[in-house]
């Protein structure tokens, strides 16, 4: 156990506001943190939050829209985002496309609304398009903020993010040497969703100081999906004397981007996102995703993959059958389970996770 004090989202928002920063509430998944930072805007991500009462969103969204989007809208409608200055809705999927559009056309928030179109496929036209899309957002933000930061400043922010990405990767690689429960590990990791870079960096560095030589002697699991919520899922895994060795989650590993190459800051951010880890919402191929997940398992000696899918998330669904087959050919067992971030983990889910761990342990 580590004693790390991680401030809450609320505390961060209040502190940053008092320093004169603007706050952006950002919906999932990919967005240019650097670009907001250079305008003195602190992004605070809205992943649900879980266990939100979604009755207010039910007036705008049908029941077959996933719980992440339902909760995200409810959270806004309940007034929890009144404090923020901007609302950012990346075009991650058809449901978030709808959310951005409903915000713009019907809900009409008092805050500035920023939408980002994320190109699908991985090629040079896409990098060029995304760079242009980022320039458009730059213009929107400079109008809002009343100043135009230069390329050099933006480059500085990019380099900061690149360093943090490297550090996060190191944190992952040290996972087996860290005396942390899965819940603790992910609480630390996910504080990046709302902490300023220096604060997040010092927490990671502190945690890494406690890395020991001895490795955890537990069954490692790769957790794949959008987000580890409700977090009880992590406890269920730990209770079986297993742990999440690494993940392929949208909120975590899928956003640990590599370094860009371009000297043009917009292009560089675009390169980072487009060429980053494979993600269904970026439309990566089956092979790209399979190779990536397999490399994660190889890196950590994880024994199995749990696809932890938010119900109604179509981008994730489509990959499961073929990925499962490819993994199975590579002797990696996998389990697909569905969840709703607003409901406590059903007993069935718990049983399935436990049985899966029993199965992989017995066969290894």
């Amino acid at each position: 156990m580590l004693h790390v004090k991680i401030p809450t989202r609320k505390e961060v928002i209040e502190e940053e506001k008092s320093k004169g920063k603007r706050i952006a509430a950002v919906y999932p998944i990919h967005y240019p943190r650097e670009l907001f930072r250079v305008f003195n805007i602190q992004p605070v991500e809205v992943w649900g939050p879980p266990k939100t009462d979604t009755k207010k969103a039910n007036a705008h969204l049908q029941s077959y829209i996933c719980s992440v989007v339902q909760s995200g809208l409810s959270f806004y409608l309940e007034g929890y985002l009144d404090i923020v200055d901007l609302i950012v809705v990346p075009h991650s999927c058809d449901s978030l496309q709808g959310l951005g559009s409903i915000f713009k056309d019907f809900i009409k928030p008092k805050q500035e609304l920023v939408t980002i179109y994320l190109p699908r496929e991985k090629n040079k036209e896409n990098v060029e398009f995304l760079a242009n899309e980022l320039k458009r957002i730059y213009k929107q933000l400079s109008q809002l903020c009343g100043f135009e930061p230069d390329d050099e400043k933006l480059m500085e922010e990019i380099k900061t993010e690149e360093k943090i990405d490297k550090l996060v990767f190191k944190f992952y690689k040290s996972r087996e040497n860290l005396p942390l429960s899965s819940r603790e590990f992910y609480t630390i990791l996910r504080s990046r969703e709302y902490l300023p870079p220096d604060k997040f960096k010092s927490i990671l560095e502190y945690a890494l100081l406690h890395a020991s030589k001895g490795k955890l002697k537990k069954t490692g699991i790769v957790l794949s999906g959008l987000l580890p919520e409700p977090m009880d899922i992590l406890d269920v895994i730990d209770d079986m004397d297993a742990f999440v060795a690494i993940d392929d989650m949208a909120c975590c590993m899928r956003r640990v981007y590599g370094e860009g190459h371009s000297s043009d800051p917009f292009e560089r951010i675009a390169e980072r996102i487009v060429n980053g880890p494979p993600d269904p919402t970026k439309g990566n191929s089956f092979d790209e995703r399979f190779e990536f997940i397999k490399s994660l398992a190889d890196l950590t000696s994880a024994k199995g993959v749990i696809f932890y899918n938010v119900k109604f998330c179509e981008p994730e669904y489509f990959y499961h059958p073929i990925l499962k087959e490819k993994l199975s050919k590579a002797q990696i067992r996998s389990l697909i389970i569905e969840n709703d971030i607003n409901e406590p983990l059903p007993q069935q889910t718990i049983t399935r996770i436990k049985a899966f761990i029993e199965m992989i342990r017995e066969s290894s």
Binding site: R333, E338, P346, Q347, Q348, T351, R352, K354, A355, F356, E358, M359, E362, S363
Partner: protein, 255 residues
């Protein structure tokens, strides 16, 4: 007094199953009761009574099922592993084990040497589970045994398209109100349930033989239809309900 080497307790959502085995894994007793909300007391009561006839001094206890958290046991194992173990030891073969319970269906692929290769369970919704038939039986005030009989003897079949247990119920009512024969509708309802199970079987990949456990395995109409859909006669243990508890007891032997 015979010595009970290991006891398996399967505390399911609707029934409590307890099986005791000797050193060789032979079943000495098996008990099936409706589950009491206070399952821990119920279990203790049963075990105390059994002690009058059996030597249970050194028995290992392995618990499984929804209520297993409430039960004092040497080990807790999931129903998947227990059913696989029970079925494998009973039939002495690998294959596809299907357990159709009150609110859960499980399909388990068992390897030649008795290991779980893969498994699948239904989602939260009750489509295709025992509850699917029970809801309608209750609504129509027909006992469950009669449901299977009606379906078996029906000369026709109405297609039920809803897979949701709640929607299916209203679909049944609307067919009946339009003058469809009761047995045709009931047969259609069985078919919808069996189709759902078949699709789960294909999802993990069907590997014969097909072996059934769980309360619904006693429903002859379901068994017959499964055979029709899969082209494979299911094997059914004498007492399909106790397979999980039996497997749990066997796991206790190796402790």
């Amino acid at each position: 007094m015979e010595t009970v080497k290991s006891i398996g307790i399967d505390a399911g959502s609707t029934t409590l199953k307890i099986v005791g085995v000797n050193e060789e894994g032979k079943i000495l007793f098996s008990i099936v009761e409706d589950a009491d909300p206070k399952v821990e007391e119920q279990t203790e009561h049963i075990l105390n009574k059994l002690k009058e006839n059996y030597d249970m001094e050194s028995s290992k206890i392995v618990a499984t099922g929804y209520g297993s958290n409430l039960i004092k046991a040497d080990k807790k194992v999931t129903e998947i592993t227990c059913h696989a173990k029970g079925i494998y030891e009973y039939f002495k073969t690998g294959g596809t084990a299907v357990d159709i319970g009150g609110q859960d269906n499980k399909v388990i692929l068992i390897s030649k040497n008795g290991k779980v290769i893969d498994f699948i369970m239904n989602d939260k919704c009750a489509s295709g589970t025992g509850r699917f038939l029970e809801n309608t039986a209750w609504r129509l005030k027909i006992p469950m045994e009669k449901m299977a009989e009606l379906a078996l003897n029906s000369d026709g079949e109405v297609k039920i398209s809803s897979t949701c247990a709640v929607f299916a119920e209203s679909e049944v009512i609307s067919h009946l109100s339009r003058g469809q024969k009761l047995e045709h509708v009931i047969k259609g309802l069985h078919r919808a349930m069996v189709k759902r199970i078949t699709s789960m079987i294909y999802t993990v990949g069907f590997n014969p033989p097909l072996m059934l456990s769980g309360g619904v395995a006693k429903n002859k109409a379901v068994v017959k239809m499964l055979e029709e859909e899969l082209g494979e006669k299911p094997r059914i243990p004498e007492n399909p309900q106790i397979m999980g508890a039996f497997g749990a007891a066997l796991i206790g032997l190796s402790q």
